[in-house]
Symmetry: C2
Subunit: 163 residues, 2 copies
C-alpha cells in the first residue's frame, strides 16, 4: 500500500519547532528505517546498503524527493514523519508529468500534530511547481478523508499483484 | 487515470501474428501518440519533442519499459496497443522495488483480441523478474475483472489532485 498510517486526525499545523526537510543520508542513524517499519515490513539496513540506495535515489534529482520531519530541539533528532514523491514522465498530455506520493508515515508517538498533512501538502506543492498535471496516491478507504484535507479526490481503484 | 481503455474482453490470446516488443523512437510515425489519445488528452508531438522524451525514458534502462503491439504483416505497421511499466526503488521491504503499470490502451479497432492482456501479463512477468515485491496499477472500478485476469486484486483507492 502506497500511503497509510499517517496520523488519523490533524490538530495543530503551526508547530514551528518541527522542521520539514529533504532526507539526508545520515537520517539512517535517526530512525528513518524504523519509522518506515510502522508502514510496511522493513528490516534494518546496513549503513552501506542504505547509502547505496540513497545515492541511487539522489541521482534522480528533483524527480525523487523524500521529505522528513524532525524536531531540531530534540536530543536524538529522530525522524518523526516522512513522505515520498517521485515524478513520472509520460508521452501523453503533451509529454506530461505525474507526481506519485508514496510511503507517508508518521511515528505513532507524533500523530495528531499535523505532520503528515504538512508533508503531503508540501509534496503536492512540489508536484505543481514541477509542472505535473496531477499528483496521485493510493491509500486505504479509511484515509480518504485524511487526504481530502490536502485536496485529493477519489479517482479509481488500486490493484496489485504480490510476488 | 493510470490504466483505462484496454479492450473490454479478451478472446483469442494466441494470435501469433501480433508482435509485442519495446517501444522504438520510430513508433512516433506509427501512430503511438494517436493511440495514447484514446486514453487521455494527447496533442500530437513533433519528432524532436518525441525523441527528447524517448531519450529521457530510455536513459532509465529497464526501470522504464514501454511495450507495444504491432502486426508486422500490416502495411502501415501501426501500433495496436501499449502499456508501460516503471520500477520504483524504495527503502522499505529491504530496499524493495515496486512495479507500476501505467498507460495501458488498445486501439478501438483492435479490442477483443487479448492484446492488452498480453501486454499487461508481460509487464507483470518483467516486474517479477526484476525482483519487485509487487506490481500495482490504478484503474476504473469497471476494469477490476479485466485486471483480475492478470492476477491483480483490489488493494485500495486511488486519490488524485489535478492542477
Amino acid at each position: 500500500m502506497a500511503s497509510t498510517s499517517p496520523e488519523p486526525a490533524a490538530a495543530d499545523e503551526t508547530i514551528d519547532t518541527i522542521h520539514i526537510r529533504r532526507l539526508e543520508c545520515s537520517d539512517h542513524e535517526r530512525g528513518f528505517v524504523a519509522l518506515l517499519s510502522q508502514l510496511s515490513p522493513c528490516p534494518d539496513l546496513t549503513t552501506s546498503v542504505f547509502a547505496t540506495r540513497f545515492a541511487e535515489l539522489a541521482a534522480q534529482g528533483d524527480d525523487h524527493i523524500i521529505l522528513v520531519a524532525e524536531d531540531p530541539s530534540a536530543s536524538d533528532r529522530r525522524i518523526l514523519a516522512t513522505g515520498c514523491l517521485f515524478v513520472e514522465r509520460k508521452f501523453l498530455r503533451g509529454c506530461g508529468k505525474v507526481g506519485h506520493v508514496e510511503d507517508v508515515v508518521v511515528d505513532a508517538a507524533a500523530r495528531g500534530r499535523g505532520l503528515g498533512l504538512r508533508i503531503v501538502r508540501r509534496l503536492v506543492e512540489i508536484s505543481r511547481d514541477a509542472g505535473c498535471y496531477k499528483v496521485i496516491l493510493d491509500c486505504t478507504p479509511e484515509l480518504r478523508a485524511y487526504y481530502a484535507k490536502c485536496g485529493f479526490v477519489e479517482k479509481g481503484v488500486q490493484m496489485a499483484v504480490y510476488f
